[in-house]
Amino acid sequence: MTGESYGCGCTAPTPAPAPGFWRSGGWLLAALPAWFALYLTLKPMADWLAFHALGLKVGSRLGEAVAFFVYDGPKVLLLLGLVVLGVSFVQTFISPERTRDLLAKRTGAWSNLLASLLGIATPFCSCSAVPLFIGFVRVGVPLGATFSFLISAPMVNEVALFLLLSLFGWRIALLYAATGVAIAFVSGWIIGKLRMERHLEPWVMEIPFEASVADGRSMGFSERLDLAVQATRDILVKVWLYVLAGIAVGAFLHGYVPAELLARFMGKSAWWSVPLAVIIGVPLYANAAGIIPIVQVLLAKGAALGTALAFMMAVAGLSLPETVILRKVLRPMLIATFLGVVTVGIVIVGYLFNLVM
């Protein structure tokens, strides 16, 4: 169920690569120039395909839409592949065990801030949420910091940030990252202040537990690269269709559907649109790649930015399946507090954006 999350340990299998020179990362030397050559020829190839091969008119609505799609689709996928490969490689150095050990020594608001920031970079899969939660709490990471991490990790991640960056620009990407971290920080801090340790299920603190050591064995370059390639392939296989569908919808509807369609429901003037978007978004479960194309369409059709971002945060950050999983370690009171605090945080951020932008 929750194994749907990308970047997660629960995705499709991949075969072992060939031995020798290629095995030790030599293929990367050949692949990088090929990647750049392909990237540089994208624009002329897209124009040729749209205006010559398909015979569409330059400047016509359909012609420009097709040219946009056959250029932007491969471009975003190429960039996404490279970014995810780089991030996945770096992430082989960052283990949840190391994050846990960094947090175990901290207390107070700093622990929440650090946990929110580490949540961005640490590889995390919601299918590991329960053992991770117990591992954190049992070695002495404050409960509030544990929540800061659990809120930030799924909401602010490399794929979400990259897609926001390439589709909406750095301002919105940065805004999303900063407010996502802020929500994780404040929500975790509040949960910590409420002293809700007694609302954990008793077995969490009672069962025999042994803290695993961070990275029992050090990996070589080629093994890290293998893992990064594996992770990249898993993510791309999972998201390419969503990305292309989003760009296609964006390319075509943009010109053909009246932009004011959604303005009445999701525009700035409708005060109830932010809470409504969040209430619709919380039970939905999708990863960033699935939701960003939808956000793109919402924005194009006249939704306010705050409303659209709040919707995205609610979908990516909170989900029904994850809540069901966390119920194994959290009592209803703590679950309700967690959902309540984060939901209110997202609503506030939505209003703030609508007010400022």
């Binding site: 340990g9 629960c10 499709a12 072992a16 117990i134």
Partner: protein, 76 residues
């Protein structure tokens, strides 16, 4: 040799179990393979991220599926 594969049953856990079994057979080692699927049992072995590979009580890998070659080394 006792091989334990830790995980609640996702695709990568199954892949790890298959690879571990193949690796053990390739090495010609006698082994028993157990799938550990319950959270308390996973946590008791000190693993935070699944899938995890435990050999004779020692955590060998967690959070990812090592390559077939790497698993053979871990089993030795």
């Amino acid at each position: 040799m006792k091989i334990e594969v830790l995980g609640t049953g996702c695709a990568k856990c199954k892949l790890l179990a298959e690879r571990a079994e193949e690796a053990a057979q390739a090495l010609g080692l006698p082994y028993t393979l157990v799938k550990v699927t319950e959270y308390p049992d996973i946590v008791a072995r000190g693993v935070m991220t699944t899938p995890g590979l435990v050999v004779d009580g020692v955590v060998k890998s967690q959070g990812h599926v090592p390559t077939a070659a790497a698993i053979q080394q871990l089993l030795r």
